[in-house]
Symmetry: C2
Subunit: 341 residues, 2 copies
DNA sequence: TATTAGCACTCGACATCAAAGAGTGCTAAC
DNA sequence: GTTAGCACTCTTTGATGTCGAGTGCTAATA
């Protein structure tokens, strides 16, 4: 059995209707809803076929049909091919300038959540492809050194290093030279043990103290930033009865609080990346088990210099995909533009 | 009418029972529960008195009684005076060492949440009483300076400052000297406009650029850190039916996500501070409107050098206060001890 | 052959009703 | 002051019946 044009139309009608109402949709509704001019009986036959093909399911005998994951997938794929509907309203969704990146991200998540009524998340861009621009060791007091590393994107990392013996100004200068000549211009993830050991040799392998300092600086640079993820509008899940029952809500909320869980999503998004930068995961397609009753839309944004982050929408499977994708694109573009200016 | 000893015993029995069961408690239960050897009829009379005094309420006619806020308050106050019950189990609640404060705090919140089954929060200690230890300006490139400030507690702040003209090494050195001589040893919240203007004068008022740099450094130092608050176990609220209905849960979850709201709690806790460092807010006593159906217990911890933070438990009004307070004290002590070592 | 009308059937949603049970307040007796 | 007894109230629970939406199937129709 094939999915002919009429079946497609009917399927689309079913899904559209279900997205709007959230109620299983019956044959009579479709018979009136579409311009196919078919009786409900015919529709019933077609629906039986669509069910057999796996695009729709019946919650129980003698109920209307609702889309299956496969059905949604079909809908999203055909929809995505259509020319994007410009949602006028979304144009008002504008990010304001923010000094700190953290606040910018929080703002973005919040904006997205309020304008879509879904839960949202955003991850801070990762920076391990950035290049080291500047390193400096300075003496805070006799037993403490301060190491500061500046990388592309004005990313600053620093630590206090305890030292057992006070280092002379000369040694410090020498160390600074050494670190800068070897590490400047390297991407953070290019710094290897080999380079570190070369530096140690040049510094004079006999000095443990200096070796420790070099190790500590290298650690500081390469140390993976802790995952920074911000969420907003978590409580929007209560708008959708299919997600709002206690056990599901509890699981979801837990996932939102344990940002660690969301990193799955970020990984997945970055690895699935395509031309548009937009991913749609429906139901069981999602990488996060606790969100299998949800649909997730993610986008990769880029704050320049390879600093890629993920912004996403998490909502019920019957979400307004067009609008959600539109909003996400709109925001992604704004984020991408920020660096260019 | 007075609260004589017998009434007190009955009240305590009612509350204890209600804390355990979460069900309105009737006269017959108390008659058997206590060692007072009174019939249920007598208890009924006493209960009528207690209701008149405002310690207990009836959800509806012909239901048992539940404690009012006033009742809980009485219970907590008398309980707090009692010798603290040592909860054996809590001794296993131990913080592990963590390099980064952020992770330590997250761990503390999580530990507290899992061992109490309530929602928890913790705020990073504020640092504006800390003293400046070390300031350094360095040139990253022709048009960018890096300013690093180290304060007590090895608190590091930094910024990149754009400069229009390249500053000579000499100027930079002079600026470094100036900044250090004037600001070292001052607490962050002691840095005033007066001091800044003195520095500007000494630097040579005619140079706008230098003035701007000084301003920017002062900004960096005094800039209030963004509120850092971590939460854990938010979904524990679903364990308590009285908090788990959709509208309440949604409101609560929103409060937990909008960390800003929790800052109210932190302010309140820091200003109400008493000898024990522990606060209990019951129902309407809480500073956060959306938590008026909850009880909140907060503690002030100190990571040394005046860096005070707040750790708190948010649960239903019928929470196990003794256990919660015990757990909070236990954790507070551990946090306080970390600095001492 | 595809479509449609008709019809019996299924199932959830909802309202109604009765019975059970917990608990009270009051009165009168101890 | 305490208690037994009793009528009364109110919630909870389950059973029952009705309604309506929607189906699948069959037979008639274009």
């Amino acid at each position: 059995m094939q999915l002919d044009e009429r079946k497609m139309k009917i399927l689309q009608a079913i899904i559209r209707n279900y997205l709007e109402t959230g109620e299983p949709v019956g044959s009579r509704t479709i018979s009136k809803y579409t311009d196919l001019n078919l009786s409900s009986a015919t529709i019933r036959n077609e629906m039986a076929d669509l069910e057999e093909l796996g695009y729709i399911v019946q919650p129980h005998t003698s109920a209307g049909r609702i889309p299956s994951d496969k059905g949604y997938r079909f809908y999203v794929d055909t929809m995505m091919e259509d020319k994007e509907r410009e949602v006028e309203e979304l144009k008002g969704m504008l990010l304001e300038k923010e000094e700190k990146m953290e606040n910018l991200l929080k703002q973005a998540a919040k904006l997205l959540a309020t304008s879509t009524n879904y839960a949202t998340m955003i991850s801070a861009p990762s920076s391990h492809h950035n290049r080291v621009k500047f390193i400096q060791l300075s003496r805070v007091d006799a037993h403490q050194l301060l190491a500061v590393v500046v990388a592309e994107g004005n990313l600053i990392k620093n630590t206090i290093l305890p030292v057992e013996e006070e280092l002379s100004d000369e040694t410090l200068l020498k160390l600074n030279m050494l670190l800068n000549t070897h590490l400047n211009g390297l991407a953070i993830d290019e710094i290897s043990l080999a380079i570190i050991s070369v530096m140690k040799q040049q510094a004079g392998i006999h000095s443990d103290i200096i070796g420790n300092v070099i190790d500590a600086v290298a650690d500081t640079i390469t140390h993976e930033e802790d995952l920074e993820v911000y969420t907003s509008g978590t409580n929007n899940i209560f708008r959708y009865p299919e997600l709002a029952d206690q056990s599901k809500a509890s699981e979801l909320i837990n996932a939102f609080e344990e940002k660690q869980v969301l990193s799955e999503l970020i990984q997945q998004n970055l690895s699935d990346e395509n031309e548009t930068g937009i991913q749609v995961y429906i139901g069981n397609e999602t990488p996060i088990q606790s969100m299998k009753d949800c649909s997730i839309i993610t986008a990769t944004y880029e704050l320049g210099e390879g600093m890629k982050g993920t912004i996403g929408i998490i909502g019920p499977k019957r979400m307004d995909y067009e609008r959600a994708v539109g909003a996400l694109k709109h925001l992604k573009n704004q984020l991408d533009d920020i660096y260019k200016k």
